[in-house]
């Protein structure tokens, strides 16, 4: 039987693969976060919903609960943005993962625009903070205001070092094209090319997605989940309980491509002929992404929470210094390699 050509379209497969695998990774990572925190704190964590799977279906139960809950829109909120911003948050958080290729031939974008994929992804990801500040304004209570103000200050802490880390790697690779970037990491991954940039990337992403120890804008102990404090039901699932993890997924995907070598040891052939090779390459990228995300959620179980002023001074005094040093290292590699 002849397979219709649209069924073998790389765009369709990229879309499906990214969507399905990101959902699976999202569920697994939330479960893993709870189980790791439970192990470190000598607890068991989610168990009784599915004891043989270690409580994995607890996430399904939570998702069903989030969807079935009553949607509450508070009287004082600005209704339009209150309803519109959570879906926009998820859209902007997930969009960057569609802008980068999962294998040399498996990409949603085609060549001229794919060349700028990582740049576009970063640009979209940095817009997330505007959504968060807008949510803080739309929710309209004091915790949301404080959280939104904190988020607006935190962006000044992570934006420049994170951009600098990626720019350093572009300088090292002498290209911004994601496929060529991965091709240059066949033997040595980017984290070994420039470890300083990788450290800056780790710290910057922890700040950008409010992982510990930088969970400042939405820390329950201080500001009652900050900008998301009046969200319930599906809105909470789209933002605080799910959307942030999708943003973490997008950041980690970029990190897996730029710092961990993407699909590096696997070099699949052209798309329709070497279908399984391309899918294996995409799966390998996703495994690296998952490991990065696992590290970020692991931080929750061991880290304290830094104060806002400590974070800002730490960022401008140390992280920016390391980022400049990383750029110097990359410049040296640019001229030497």
């Amino acid at each position: 039987m002849e397979i219709p050509s649209w069924l073998l379209s790389p765009r369709l497969w990229d879309f499906l693969f990214d969507g399905v695998v990101s959902t699976l990774i999202l569920l697994t990572i939330v479960w893993a976060e709870r189980k790791i925190a439970a192990r470190v704190q000598m607890r068991v964590g989610p168990l009784h919903v599915s004891p043989r799977l270690g409580g994995y279906f607890q996430l399904i139960a939570d998702a069903v609960r989030f969807v079935m809950q009553e949607v509450i829109i508070t009287v004082d909120s600005y209704r339009v943005l209150f309803v519109a911003l959570p879906p926009l948050f998820v859209a902007l958080a997930l969009m960057p993962s569609f802008m980068v290729p999962l294998s040399p031939y498996l990409a949603l974008l085609s060549r001229p625009s794919l060349h700028y994929g990582i740049i576009m992804a970063l640009a979209v990801l940095f817009y997330l903070f505007i959504i968060v500040v807008g949510m803080g304004w739309a929710v309209n209570n004091r915790f949301a205001y404080i959280g939104a103000a904190r988020e607006a200050l935190i962006i000044t802490a992570y934006e420049i070092p994170l951009l600098d880390a990626f720019a350093s790697m572009f300088l090292t690779y002498r290209t911004i094209d994601p496929i060529e970037i991965v091709a240059k990491q066949t033997y040595i991954v980017g984290a070994l090319y420039n470890p300083l940039a990788f450290i800056v990337y780790i710290i910057g992403v922890a700040m950008a997605t409010s992982r510990f120890p930088f969970e400042i804008a939405d820390y329950e102990g201080d500001v009652a989940t900050g900008p998301y404090s009046d969200f319930s039901s599906i809105f909470l699932a789209l933002t605080y309980a799910g959307g942030i993890y999708i943003a973490l997924f997008s950041y980690s995907l970029l990190g897996a491509l730029v710092f961990l070598g993407g699909w590096a040891p696997i070099a699949p052939g052209p798309w329709p002929a070497d279908l399984w090779g391309n899918l294996a390459a995409a799966a390998w990228v996703m495994i690296k992404t998952f490991i990065l995300m696992l590290f970020f959620v692991f931080l929750r179980s061991v880290m304290p929470v830094a104060r806002l002023d400590h974070t800002l001074s730490f960022s401008w005094r140390w992280v920016l210094t390391i980022a400049v040093a990383a750029t110097a290292v990359s410049a040296a590699e640019y001229f030497l390699l």
Binding site: R39, M42, F298, S301, V302
Partner: protein
């Protein structure tokens, strides 16, 4: 970060990540899965309080020593008063058992008491002769204890939980004719 050596901060971060990894890979979990496992107190626990009315002299010392006023003296058909315990108030201190001059009150190690209604907590003297039947929630209930072995606290299974037995009665004293 402020006022801290950079080396110390980096070492602290690496230390805590190592510690977290150690516990993630080799957890020391002490959780007792309650309906399936129950802690074994080896009898050294204060629980439900029973009463042998034929030994009771109706002296009311138990009712007076009770710190929460949980004991009420009920008038029985033979014209004497016997204690009944309100388990909504009882804190299982067992002062009444210690104070009883004729060992009419006896201790047990039954702690798993649950009641549907508040009235069920009011035990009258005739209800206190035999311990209440605690149904098993799951078919197999295992006794566990926490033990210290090899530098870690581990949970040890001691085998299946048997039936609750009341402790053997105290040394015999003259039974008061009622």
């Amino acid at each position: 970060m402020a006022g801290q050596k950079v080396g110390e901060a980096i070492r602290a971060v690496l230390d805590v990540i190592g510690l977290g990894l150690k516990y993630t890979l080799r957890p020391e979990r002490l959780t007792i899965y309650y309906p399936y496992e129950v802690p074994d107190y080896m009898g050294r626990v204060r629980g439900w309080i029973g009463l042998w009315t034929e030994r009771c002299t109706s002296c009311m010392i138990c009712a007076r020593i009770c710190p929460t006023n949980a004991i009420k003296m009920y008038m029985e058909k033979n014209g004497r008063r016997y204690p009944g315990i309100d388990y909504g108030r009882c804190i299982m201190c067992h002062y009444c058992i210690d104070a009883c001059p004729t060992y009419a009150l006896y201790p047990t190690d039954m702690r798993d008491l649950a009641f549907y209604r508040h009235e069920d907590m009011m035990y009258t003297p005739d209800m206190m002769r035999k311990p209440p039947q605690v149904p098993k929630l799951v078919p197999q209930v295992v006794k566990v204890v926490h033990e210290y072995s090899g530098g870690r606290v581990v949970k040890v299974r001691l085998g299946e939980l048997g039936e609750h037995k009341p402790l053997p009665p105290a040394p015999s004293v003259p039974v008061v004719e009622s």
